[in-house]
Amino acid sequence: MTSRDDTSRDASLPPEVIRPSVDKRVSSEIAFHIEMRARELVARGVPPEEARRRATERFGNLDAVVAELNRIERTTDRTARRTRYVAELAYDGRFALRMIARRRTFAAVAIGTLALGIGAATAIYSVVDAVLLRPLPYDEPDRLASVWVTQPGLANDPVLSWIADGTPMGSTEYQALRRDAKTLRDVAMWGQASVTLQTDEGLERLPAVRVTSSLLGTLRARPALGRAFAPGEDVLGGPRVAMVSWEAWTTRFGADSSIVGRSLTLNHRPYTVIGVLPPNVRIDRTKEAVPFWLLALQDSFDLAERRNRSYTALARLAPGATFEAASQETAAIVRAAASDTALSARVTQWQADQGRDARGPLLILVGAVALLLLIACVNVTVLQLGEAAGRIREMTTRAALGAGSARLVRQLLVESMAIAAVSAVLGTALAWAMIRGLVAAAPARLPGIDAVTIDARVLAFTIACATITGLLFGIVPALVAGRSGPASLVRVGAGQSARGARGLQRGLIAAQLALSMVLLVESALLGRSLRALTAVDPGFRAADLSAYAVALPMEMDTTQTRSFVAEVVRRLGALPGVDAVTAAQNVPFVGGASSSPLEIERPAREGQPPRHTQQRSVLPGYFELMGMRLVAGRFFTPEDRAGAEPVAIVSAAEVERDFGGRSPLGTRVRHQRIWRRVVGVVADTKYRGLSREDEATVYIPFDQYPYSWPTFVVRAGSGANVPSERTMKGILREVEPRVTLTTTKTLPSAIAQSFAAERYRAMIVSVFGVMASVLAAVGLYGVSVRSATRRTREIGIRLALGGTSARVVRLLVGDAMTGVAIGLVVGLPAALAAGRLVRPYLFGVTSSDPISFALVAALLVVVTAAASFLPARLAGRANPAVVLRGD
C-alpha cells in the first residue's frame, strides 16, 4: 500500500509502486522484529548468539506464523490490487488531463479533429436513428406490417413502373384480406386526401387521410378524447364523422374538449367530430401529422366494381406468422379476389417499408461519415506518434523508475480516452448545430426527419463512438510502446529509428490519403452526377414560369369548370407583368401524374393491348407558353373546343412506343372511350424527375376534357414578379369561392425540388469530403514540419556542401509526394469499390468516372504539395552554420 502523504516521490508521476513480493514483505517484517528483540536482549547483556536464539524462540512457531501471514496477505493483496487499479486509473486520468493542458497545440488539433469526426457521426446517426431505427410509438411495432400488392410485370413500363413495386389497394382486396387472411390480423387501409375546411376567414385546404374504421385498432391506439370510428361506419353512405389529430386539436382548436360532437364543414359538407387522436399518430411519416381523419369507403368511387385503388394497407402479423408467409398468402388472396394472375404481394415491416427509399441514401451517408471518423482517428494517431518525440524525457524517466510496459500502455490509452472524452463533449455540441443544418436542408419525404434529436439513444452512440475512437487512435502508440518499450515510441515519433518505425508513420499517412481519396471520389461522383442531372433539358423553358394548382368542388359540372378556367385565365392575363397564361392538368413537376390506356387505331404490332399512357388536358397555348417543340402537325387552337372534332397531340415517346416511328398524323387513338384524331406530335418533356425515362403521353384539349384539378401556369414578363399567392387567392375568391388553392410554385423551384434528395446527398458527402481533405492537410502539415525539423542536421550539411535551398525543398516535398503516390495507389481499388456502392444513385456518370478520379488525385497532390511546401521552404532557408552549430 502506498500512502498519499509519502512525499518522497515526484508528484507529477503516477504511483509506480516499488512493491516487493508478498513473501519478501512478510519475511522482512518478521526479520526486523526478531532483530529488534535480539538487540534489546544484547542491550541487557546477553551475548549476541544467545540473544538471536532466544529472540527466535520467543517469536513462537516461526514457519507456521509466516505461512499464515502469507495466506492473509495474499487475499488482502487481491482486494488491494483492485482498489489500487481504480486509484491508479483516476490518477492516470488526472495525469492525462494535465498532459493535455501542457501540450496545448497538439491537444487542440487532436480534439478539434476528433470532435469534427464524432460530431458528424453523431449528427448522421441521429438522423438514421429517427428515420430507420427508433421503434415507432405503438404497441409491438415490429409486428406492424405494410401490405402491398405488386405487379412485377410492370417494372419495365416507364408509365407504370412506379406501381410495379407497390400498387395501391381497393375495397375488393381489402375485404378479401379481412375475410381470408390467416397470417394477418386487423387489416386496415388508409389513403391520402385533402379537405376544404370552412372557417370564419374562408376556405382552407388541409391535408387529411381517409382510413378504414379498423385502423386505430391496428395501431392499438385509443382516442385521447371521444370515441374511435366504429366498425360498419366505413360503408357507402355511412355517417359523416371525423377525428381530429391531437396536434390540430391543441393548436387549431385550442384544446377545447367541447370539440367532440361539434360539427365542421369539410368539403362543403357537415361532419361531426367524434374524437381526438392521441399525440404523435402519424400514418404517413413523410408528412406532418394530418389534422383530420375521415372514413374511407363511404363514397361511390370506392365501390368494388369501380376498381378504384388508392389505398395503402396496414395490418398486424398474426402470432407465429412470418412476413414471408404473409406475403405468399396475401399474393394468393389478391390474385383470387381480382382474378388477375399478374398480381403478387409484398408484406414487410411497416417501419422498414416507410424508410425503404431513404435507407440506401442514408447508408451512403453512414459510410461517408464512418470514413471521416476513421480519417480523424488516423490523423490523430499520426499526430500522437509525432508528439512522442517531445516526451522522451518523461517516458524514459518513468521507465527508469520501474514503470512496466503495461503501465505505460495503460497511461497512453487513458490519455487517448481523455482526449476522446473531451472530443465527445465538443462533438455533441457540434452535432447539435449540424443536425439543424441536416434537418433544414433535408428533402421532403424523409420519414421521421422532424423527430431528429439528440436523446439517450444518440448519446449512447456518441459515447460508444468516442470509446472506439479513443481505442483506435490510442492503440497504435500504446502497442508500439508496449511491444518494444517506450524508447521505440520515442524513435517512431522522432523518426530516428529503423525503417519499420518510420514506415509505420508513412503507412498511416498513406492510409489517411487513401481514405480521403475514397470519400472525395464518392463526393466527386455524386457531385458530377448532380451536375449531369441538373443539365438535363426538361423539354420546356421553366424560367419565369409559375404554377398555381387548384381544387374544384366535385359539384361543379364541366360547363362551370370551363367557364371558371377561362375567367381565371382572363383575370391573370390582365395582371401587370404577366406575359401569358394557360391551364393544364398535371403540369410537369407541380401536379401529379395520371395515366389511362390508349388504344391505337392501327397499332404497329397487331394484337397489342392498349397500354397506359400519361394524359394531360391543356388549354390551347399551353405548348407555346411552356416553350415546347412541335415535331410534326400542329398545336391546339381555340377551335379545338367542346363539340368540335375530338383531337389529340401525342409525344415523341408515344410515337416511338405505339407507332413504331411511323407518323401518327391523321390516325385515331381512343382515350377514355372517345376516338380522337392525332393532329400533332410534340417533343418529350420530363414530368416527375429529370433522370426518368421519357414517358408516352397524350395531350387533349381542355375544353374537350375539362379536368377538375387544373393548374394555371403564368409566364411573367422579363424582370416582372409573378403573381403572389395572395393575388391568386383573391382572384379565386372573386370568381368562385368554393375553389381552393392547393399549391403555388415557380417551375424552376419545382424542378429543383425534384432533385433535392440528390443534392442533399451530394452536399453532405462533399462537406465530409472537404472536411477529410482539411484533416489530411493538417496531418500532412504537422508531419512535414516535424520531418523538416528532424532533418535539420542533414539539411544543414546539404546546404553547407553547396546544396541550394531549391534542392532541399524538392527533396522534402518529393518525400511527401511519395506518400501521396502510395496513398493514391492503395486508395484506387477502395474508391472503385465505393463507387460501385453508390452506382444506383448515379446519373450520367459511371462509377469509375475517370474525370472524378483524376480531379480527386489532382486535388490530393495539390493539398500534399501545399502542406509540405511551407515547412520545406523554411528548412531550405535555414543558415547552415547556425543549424550545424546548434546540434
Binding site: M1, E29, H33, R37, E40, R58, I72
Partner: protein, 111 residues
Amino acid sequence: MSTNTRDRLRGTLELLVLRTLAWGPRHGYAIARWLEETTSAGLRVEDGSLYPALYRMEQRGWIQSDWRRSELDRPAKFYRLTVAGRRQLKRETIEWRAFVAAVAIVLEPST
C-alpha cells in the same frame, strides 16, 4: 451485548492494538513492546501471534501500513489507525466496559 464471549477473548488483543495505535504509527515490534510494558507482562503472548492479528485488522480496514525508515536505518512496516479503526476502538471500548460491568454483577451480586 452484541459480541459473544469467544469473540471477546480474541478481540481483547485487537482492542489493545487499536489502543496502542491511537497514539500514533508504530511498527510490530514497538506494539509488542508496548503491550509487554503497559500490561506489565500480564498479558503474555508469543511475539508471533501478534502478526496474524495485525494482518487481519489491516484486511478489515481498521489499520493501514506502510514502509518507513526505522531506528535500525532500514525500512520497517509501520501500522497506523484508520478512521474506521478509530470508530472501532470507540465501539470496542464501550462494549468492553459493558462486558466487564456484566461480569462484575455476576461475580459480586449486590445485596
